[in-house]
């Protein structure tokens, strides 16, 4: 870019600022960047140069102005393109429309990886194994009368609940993280979240969010920079490379991974009330959970996967509301379950919805 030509007065920090600004420009639509990108970078460089002459206060004010006004400008530009005639939208109205999103959600994914439940029933059974295993333990713990539950059996049940996700996830990492390992990761995460209390939980969540953003940003950057990808491939351990490949193959799997939070969520929603439990609702919740997982494993469209996850999750947690109502008439328990279900549904669906958006975006760019 012309703005990044070597200039005798541009220090390293200024070059770094120019690179950051180039990244910021990617928030704008492609057609806008094509038309104005070079100019904007040149003007940015000129303003930065002038601010640098005036001192650090001027530079700080300049950066603050650029950062605070950018979101509104981005919104304004996207708003502009809406008024263009759809049939002659020009060289890049790359914002996907509703019909693009629906098409991306409903088109079957024909190029399936070999080890995938959508392609083979045995794989689907493996993908559902975690939910069936943990659900089975939940049912035994809840409905088996106490005299029939000796201490050793309760111990084994605890091992299965704690250990099954750990084993499956470890095995999955060894095998390059196939689809069946993702829910195990989610279940492990759920157990960690449940065992952390108060401030520790908040710190844990903050760390997790921060790491996820850093990982997503790193993956996105590596996807765009072949030299960086090659360098990372040389430096990273094989397990990390396999993780990247697994995600790159189909990162809808992250949604399935977050669905793995459901077994601990069911345990929490039913208040651990396993002593002489008489309502059938926990069994129904487990059934819905397993059915949702199986429907997801076999669904070939993004829309089908989203419906399966959302259906399984909401049906399972609705059973907890009925269970609460049995012991305490009224919908007092409903609010609490809703506070659990809504964030969980949002987290589980976010990767799927982002993948649909990305597919629609690619379709629109491919049509330009």
């Amino acid at each position: 870019m012309a703005a990044q030509r070597e200039h005798p007065r541009t220090p390293n920090l200024a070059r770094f600022a120019l690179r950051l600004y180039a990244l910021l420009l990617r928030l704008f639509p492609l057609s806008f960047r094509t038309e104005f990108g070079a100019e904007m970078q040149a003007v940015f460089a000129a303003q930065l140069d002038q601010a640098a002459r005036q001192g650090s206060r001027a530079v700080a004010g300049f950066f603050a102005r650029e950062l605070t006004q950018a979101p509104r400008a981005v919104w304004g530009v996207y708003h502009l393109r809406r008024y263009q005639d759809g049939s002659s939208a020009g060289p890049g109205a790359v914002r996907p429309r509703l019909r693009d999103l629906l098409r991306a959600a409903l088109d079957p994914q024909v190029h399936l990886p070999a080890s995938d439940g959508r392609a083979a029933w045995p794989q689907a059974v493996l993908e559902v194994a975690l939910f069936a295993g943990l659900g089975g333990v939940l049912i035994l713990e809840t409905y088996l009368p106490l005299p029939l539950r000796p201490a050793p059996a309760r111990l084994v049940a605890g091992w299965v609940t704690e250990g099954l996700p750990f084993v499956l996830f470890g095995l999955g990492l060894y095998r390059g993280l196939p689809a069946w390992a993702y829910p195990a990761g989610g279940a492990l995460l759920g157990q960690l979240l449940l065992s952390a209390q108060g401030p520790a939980r908040a710190v844990f969540v903050a760390l997790l969010v921060g790491l996820s953003i850093a990982l997503a940003g790193g993956l996105a950057l590596a996807a765009r920079r072949p030299t960086l990808r090659a360098a990372l491939r040389a430096e990273l351990p094989p397990a990390a490379i396999d993780l990247g490949r697994s995600l790159a193959r189909d990162w809808r799997r992250l949604s399935f991974g977050f669905y793995g939070l459901l077994p601990p969520a069911i345990r929490l929603a039913f208040d651990d009330g396993f002593v002489d439990h008489r309502t059938p609702w926990l069994a129904a919740a487990v059934l819905f959970m397993v059915a949702g997982a199986l429907a997801y494993s076999r669904s070939r469209t993004s829309a089908g996967q989203a419906v399966a996850l959302l259906g399984g999750l909401s049906a399972a947690l609705s059973m907890a509301v009925l269970d609460h109502a049995h012991y305490a008439p009224g919908l007092a328990g409903a609010g609490w379950v809703l506070r659990l279900a809504l964030p969980l549904a949002g987290i589980a669906l976010a990767p799927l919805l982002a993948a649909i958006w990305q597919d629609a975006f690619r379709r629109v760019e491919g049509q330009e």
């Binding site: 104005f36 040149a42 102005r65």
Partner: protein
């Protein structure tokens, strides 16, 4: 009888529909009233005309320029000699080759907005006895 409703594109919109102008937009058009300018010059001119009250970021400026182009109030022009009269490289690397010109429609909008504000000021002065 079928009535054809012509879809109004931004450049066909009646001038009155574009008023009142936002302050930054007004100053951008005002700066172009003097002559063709590229983006950086517009930024500086807006700051000068507004006496430092309006300092635009690059993103805001170009969002405004894109909107004004769409509305037909300005038009892009190629600079004849972006590297200066004697061909020497300028102080700023990558000086843009594109400038902007106020169109006839843009001038009419600017005049209409000026007249509107003038009427406002007159009414206020009469009411407040400031004349």
């Amino acid at each position: 009888m079928l009535v054809r409703i012509k879809r109004v594109t931004p450049s066909d919109e009646p001038i009155d529909n574009l008023l009142p102008l936002r302050e930054p937009t007004f100053f951008i058009l005002l700066s172009l009233a003097q002559g063709d300018m590229h983006g950086y010059a517009i930024l500086k001119e807006v700051e000068t005309l507004s006496r430092g009250k309006i300092v635009l970021s690059t993103s805001t400026l170009y969002e405004a320029l894109a909107r004004l182009l769409e509305q037909g109030l300005i038009a892009p022009v190629e600079l004849a000699n972006p590297d200066g009269a004697d061909g020497e490289e300028t102080k700023h690397p990558g000086k843009p080759r594109k400038a902007y010109r106020l169109t006839r429609r843009g001038r009419r909008v600017l005049e209409a907005e000026t007249a509107r504000m003038h009427n406002l000021v007159l009414a206020a002065q009469q009411r407040l006895g400031l004349q």
